[in-house]
Amino acid sequence: MSDAGNGSPLVAVRELNVHFKRSRRAGQPVRAVDGVDLDIFAGETLCIVGESGSGKTTLVRAIGHLAPITSGSVRFGDVDVAHLRRSELRTMRRRVQYVFQDPFESFDRRQSIFSIVAQPLRVHKLAGSQSELEERVHEALEECGLEPAGEFARLYPHQLSGGQRQRVSIAAALVLRPELLIADEPVSMLDVSVRSDILSLFVRLKQSHQMTLLFVTHDLSVAWEIADRIAVMYLGKMVEEGSADQVIGRPANPYTHALVGAIPVPDPHDVAPEPGVRGDIGDIAGIPAGCRFHPRCPFADDRCSAMIPPLSRVGDGHRSACVRNDELELPAPHRLATGSAG
Amino acid sequence: GGETASGVMRFGHLNIFDTPNPVVTVSTPDMHWLVYDRLMEFDDNLSPQLSLATNRELSNGGATVTYTIRSGVEFHDGEPLTSADIKYSFELYRDTKKGLFGGFFEPLETVEAPDDTTVVLHFSGPPALDPSVGAPIIPAHIWQGMSPEDIDIFGNDEMIGSGAFKLNEYTPDDRLVLDRNSDWWGWSSNDGPKTGTLEQIVKVQLANEETIANSLRNNEIDVTGTISSPDIWAGLQGEPNVVVEEYPGLVLDHFGINVYEDPDNPGQPHPDSGGNPLLLDPVIREAMSWAMDRQRLVDLVLGGRGMKGSVVLPPGLGDAFLEVPEGEQANGNPVKAREILDAAGYIDRDGDGVRESPDGEKLSFRLFASTVIDRLPLYAELIKPMLEDVGMEIQGVFGEDDPTLIQRVFVDADWDMYTWVWQTPPDATFMLSVQSCDQFGNLSDTYYCDADYEALFKAQQTEGDPAQRLNMVKEAQQIFYDSFAYCVMAYPTKLQAYRDDNLVGWPFVNNGITTNWSTETFLVVSEA
């Protein structure tokens, strides 16, 4: 099922830095994304996970030309996102679409569902006639489970539930038939009970449209649910990357390990070991020297503050950034049932 | 409030004065005259009489005046006042031409001080008004050595003079306190000593007439300055211990008409003039005068407290005022106005209610009203319908103000009609001078220039014989009146009020009990 490693990637991120200047305070800039390398292969589902403030959003926005790239390159197919010409940008906008986190904030409340979904088609002048426009909008809505589409199209966002809004959001992204769908925490504001339906919708659509899905979440169990591959971020750095089973089942990085272990599981008998991690991610402006996780890491030693560990191979398609990669034997945090993501 | 000491006159006014500096002051000189002596003064009838001088002799056909002054007079700082001080003062006035009296020193050529008590003034001809009557004598020992520029901005916060009162306290825009100078020669003068017993004069500046009236009512002041609102004044009538008085005025409410004529091309407008050329036709101006219901203006604007206007001198000038008989006044007769206009061919040909000249020019004029004085826009508002009624179109009222308006009228000559107020000193010369040809670009608010008038004006300035001069003055008034370059609307009377419970012995002074040209009141009232 995973196309990982097949040929050249759809998106190749190299040495990507996105730094934000702090207003007023003259201090260091915020290094929201700091030297990240990442490949996204066509047709796969890649999940970016990490605590709040680790730079996930910034990374995926940089990929989609929605955040300023400080340095490094993001190649999308054959174009460099950092140096796009106007016409290229427009083309790229069509090839990459977004679904955002907040289902209540992602729409202008004065637009009807129809005009929300139709807007991308109008902007790119993709529908020849009004009837074609309607047809495509209805098709997209139906695909996203909003039936009867004609009725939904007439409504306004406030008349929908959060889950339905998120479906509209997906439909609006889908009408352009993008190659890459970027979903930034699309389910974290939804009730547990509707979450899984949205997740399976993603999986279904990804397959039927042969899209690539870049999925951002802070919830490893969500990632595990749908991802082919998972990339873990900590304070702007990529700390671990591998298949979902590898990252959740046998995390190699102490941070990932703690993260996975801390996930509460609806099973009174599955109690993960004490993570032993101190403090919290805190302020990204004060970045520790060496490995960024070392002040909180229970396994840290002197070397950890001295060098910034590179992302290095620990298994087949599994990479981790830890100074003690070779010596640490971390126990499996959860009893894991492996299987396919839909 | 606090209580009041006896022997204090509390004098409420809109302005104390502009500056304690007597050389440059242009506001009412009463306080300066209390602090500084003068060779001569105006008496309560506003006729000049001797003051510091004990003798005045004319020679050289009136062009040389020799004064003998009192001896032993001292300034407030104890220095003696001699003829040298007078020489210094008068030369200063002559050279700087500043202040209220600077202008009157123009004909003065030299000043001699042969001895300590004698001063000889040499004029270019006999002066109509001897400036000695108003010029404060300043101490040379304090002022000498200052350049004209220094003097211009000299704060004079000591106010050392030799007058009946001396400075106690001065807070700009707030209060001036003068204390009795008991060493003053006048209190014990052998030719009629001043009998007043005032120990102190407190002149307070109050922001408006309403406040002044209320303060008088509440026994916070004893006497008011001029009250221009007839209603406020009338409101004081009948208040216990309050006496309201109405005096003949020295004020002239009028509008001047732009009659700027090309001297080489009579009847044609001057190339620099921006006025409507139609106004050069006296017929139109006369019609304007006829169209005006002056009694209504006096009634509504002045609340009836004034006289219908006619000639250029106000009635407060007494004998010099030319009384045009009621029947000969061009006033309050719109029918007549229309007749004149019809006769001259100014007819409304197109039926729009506005007459046209035979050449088809509309009788359309701009009316400007200065807003410096509250009542001018009120006049303008009333005048407008009166003129429209006889078939003229009045644009405006343009309520522009300084500096635009001053520039427009006095510099650019770009106006048609301009309402304005003159306040004259108690002498005819000033008011007549306004219409002199010399005043283009300066005082003239008509750009009127008439050879006969000019000759009379010049002659009266140096005419030694009072009766002769009076005739000239009246003749000049008549000439100007007949030109209709001015439309005098009214002569407001001067309204004042005072309390008679704290102080007694209030005299009657022509033109107002205080703040006028005589200081008599301050020198004769006594505590009750």
């Binding site: 306004y156 008349q159 | 509504l300 609340g303 509250d374 009120l378």
Partner: protein, 301 residues
């Protein structure tokens, strides 16, 4: 997968309403007590102002004799006469039009300037934003009335001057407000979405930012109008108004300078002041209630 049911019973708030929100906002406004009183008052004043203008197109005529001055209210003169014998009642009606005209015109200038500065500043951002906001802050700090007095004192008298001076000195607050609103709108997800779709910035500005800013601007404009009306009255009272126009402030100046206070001529003092207060109050009430109704914080609810 089965479709989720359509939620129909969510209690919509005005700000959530789709399409043309004006009726909804009006409804909410009406339901706040303040809004209702304000709207009614405003309607009354509009009618009064227009009717007054039509009925007395020429300034009320002056009296004929001394007796016509300061007549006390009577059947002939409902509210008596002033110092020129003009009917106070008629002057009030003429003054209503002036007050409304000055208020609305000055506000239009202020809001226009404020919008231009606020929108460009919020939109361009960066250095320009800093610079523009520096200037704006300065204008907010500089006390307005003294500045207006200085300007009015040296410029030529007239209604246009008054309008321009008031307008030009009161753009700063709306500018700040609009900028803040533009900034916060800019950060909202649906703007990002529009960007991600490939909409051009100006298009986004026009279709998404401006309409969402409009409510706040309107509410502020209404409050500004109230302030402008007050300022005009103050200027007229201080003798800096158009001397040839009858306005309520001018009427009070007339009354004050002719001594009506101490003479107890209440009919020239109380009615103009009362009308100023009521007119300003009607705008204040509507503006205040409207601000509450469209408060962005309440959008979250």
């Amino acid at each position: 997968m089965s479709a989720e049911g359509i939620m129909t019973d969510a209690a919509p708030t005005a700000q959530d309403r789709p399409g043309n929100q004006a009726p909804a906002v009006m409804g909410q406004l009406w339901r706040t007590g303040r809004g209702k009183i304000g709207l009614i008052l405003l309607a009354v004043f509009l009618v009064y102002g227009v009717a007054g203008y039509l009925a007395y197109e020429n300034p009320p005529a002056a009296g004929e004799t001394v007796e016509d001055r300061f007549r006390a209210p009577s059947v002939d003169y409902l509210l008596g006469t002033d110092n020129l014998g003009r009917s106070v009642w008629e002057q009030l009606a003429v003054g209503a039009g002036i007050s409304l005209a000055v208020g609305v015109a000055a506000t239009a200038i202020a809001v226009l300037m404020g919008s231009i500065v606020g929108i460009t500043s919020g939109y361009i951002g960066g250095r320009f934003d800093q610079f523009a906001m520096g200037i704006t802050d300065m204008f907010i700090t500089i006390p307005a009335l003294p500045l207006i007095i200085v300007l009015a004192a040296v410029l030529s008298r007239g209604l246009p001057t008054i309008i321009v001076v008031i307008g030009v000195t009161s753009w700063a607050v709306p500018a700040r407000l609009i900028r803040a609103e533009v900034l916060s709108q800019r950060e909202r997800t649906f703007i990002l979405r529009a960007k991600a779709i490939g909409m051009r910035p100006l298009h986004i500005m026009w279709t998404h930012v401006l309409p969402n800013v409009a409510g706040i601007v309107l509410a502020n404009a209404i409050l500004l109008t109230a302030a402008a009306i007050l300022t005009e009255a103050v200027l007229a009272f201080l003798g800096l108004g158009d001397p040839s126009l009858i306005s309520w402030g001018k009427m009070l100046q007339n009354a004050f300078s002719s001594g009506a206070t101490s003479l107890g001529y209440w009919w020239v003092l109380i009615p103009p002041g009362l009308l100023i207060t009521l007119l300003v109050l009607s705008f204040t009430l509507v503006g205040n209630a409207l601000t509450d109704v469209i408060d962005p914080r309440r959008r979250a609810e």
